[in-house]
Symmetry: C2
Subunit: 342 residues, 2 copies
Amino acid sequence: MPENLDNRKRKILQAIVEEYIETSEPVSSGSLVQNEELNCSSATIRNEMAELEQIGFLEKPHTSAGRVPSQKGYRYYVDELLREDNLSRKEIEMIREMMETKVNRLEDLTKIATTTLSEITHYTTIAIEPNVSNHTIIDIKFILLGTRVLMAVILTDSGIIRESIIKFDEDLTQEQIDDLTYIFNNKLVGKPLEKIDGPIEEYIVAEMKTGIKIIEKIIEEINKLLEDSKTYIKGANKVIDMPEFKKQDMAKDFLNVIDAKDIIADVINTGMAKDINVYIGSESEREELKNFSIVTFNHLLDGKDIGTIGIIGPTRMDYSKVISVMKYISKKLNDDYKKGKF
Amino acid sequence: MPENLDNRKRKILQAIVEEYIETSEPVSSGSLVQNEELNCSSATIRNEMAELEQIGFLEKPHTSAGRVPSQKGYRYYVDELLREDNLSRKEIEMIREMMETKVNRLEDLTKIATTTLSEITHYTTIAIEPNVSNHTIIDIKFILLGTRVLMAVILTDSGIIRESIIKFDEDLTQEQIDDLTYIFNNKLVGKPLEKIDGPIEEYIVAEMKTGIKIIEKIIEEINKLLEDSKTYIKGANKVIDMPEFKKQDMAKDFLNVIDAKDIIADVINTGMAKDINVYIGSESEREELKNFSIVTFNHLLDGKDIGTIGIIGPTRMDYSKVISVMKYISKKLNDDYKKGKF
DNA sequence: ATTAGCAGTCAAAGAAATAGATTGCTAAAA
DNA sequence: TTTTAGCAATCTATTTCTTTGACTGCTAAT
């Protein structure tokens, strides 16, 4: 139910959210009178604020304090009041510079984007490799590294490369490797990299020259590759300067969340395929995250998911700035891609 | 100059360090009287403590507080007074269990050891891949992943595998790859992986079929591989429960150190090749680390450095326990290695 | 519908008082 | 000479009380 606020209430809510984001202090009616767009006295504002609190957009830490946006207030702000925060020329310059580095791997590009995002926004940034299971296999290579050590390299259409090293208890011959390469490529190229469990038998039957054990082990390892998606964190130290982390509990919760990156990965992976997702406080439905907000963007190239980058910070987050920077970086990645930068 | 303390002073210093490590409260003369080994009154202990302070082994936070070990005090303790802390059966069981996982890569083994160490000691653990430059090359493979994308895989005698993906502006043929493989193997196998810059020309001259540019690029990428050693951190959240991190500054310093892992990598890499190194406070000669201690061990297999694992925590660290656990894990890794586990 | 004005509320900051821990010193005892 | 008992002095941590100042909410006038 998208509540309808009259114009003045919208302006007041917006002003409160923005001032609070900037100062981290509860906002008083008095300080809002200064706002040019609001041509009324503090008493009027107080009345409006009381109503906004009534319907759940604002909260009061205590009777004689100013107001603070509630989670619902932030949500309304993000959905309805957010204005594009234009990046300064300096910031754009900085982003350009940082992202200029040449890379050979998509993975490295993600790292760079993560670092850039953290530097510019001053929040902690997390990158998560995509779930590759719906990516299409372009090629599979097997390389014998020792008599009993095999390396499997899988290429997908999205440019993501995964490799795995597999050890066996028996010697492998080059002939076997050639067989494997032939069969796996034959059966899997052009298909999505879904878990290969159902039709395993089929492959095995089709191919008895190289023992069942070997094939089973290879499939097992390939499946493992699909499961673990790497995560990178940058700027975990950024939070320390934020006033909310003066509270021991917040700091503790934050470090715990960072250490168990899966928590965030979970949230990110359950997200919709919108380009930008915003989870405010308990919206992420994880107890540990109820005091934090997460903003993510799915990095799509040619419609393929090639990874998600997320920012985590207090609910009092500069959503406007974060979203603007994300959009810019996202666009830049796409442009670079089209120019064939990688 | 290894100062000589009489027996009673040694006992007192030891008792103070151990009690302080346990409680994190300054130790008073009164609480030491309880110690059975010390058969004297609190007044006597006070006199001894005054002398220990005189010669720099103890410090006083303020006049009416107990004593705290100084950095020099910790150093003496570690060098002279440390007693082997026998691990409980439960801990040994836990280590065994955690390290049972089968791995294919040395890298994964390091990760597991890192996690185990952090779980058992309750400190933050950092693993750093070794500098492979003095490792001997066993094999070099080149795999064509696309017409312009090459993967180079380097195997060393220590079992460490490094791979790199290299992109070119022109198409590569399989024939060229075969050439490259032949030449690189011919020239490099059996040699240490030192930076390949001096005799580059030689290779190039020996081989004109595949353009100079390609070779240059490959060498460049291989050199990059040598430089960047990966680091893993586990248990960064462990510190939050330690009383010293109640102080904002400590927490800030810690997060900064963790974020710029290079700082620690630096310290670790400049260490001697002793099996276990202990850096107490400013001994690490980095301003950022003056309030922290680092204990590292070089993981050697067959005399080859295959990585370093370090623990970082406050100077009030349970050195005895940390060192005992490290020794145990180190031994276990070696045993497993001899049994051919990897 | 708006606003001026004022009483009421509460946290945060400061000041003062208190309690408690521990030392250092002195003089007596061993 | 070494050890110890005892006590004054020191300083932190805790508690309590007071003061200040920032807001709000309400009422009555505009």
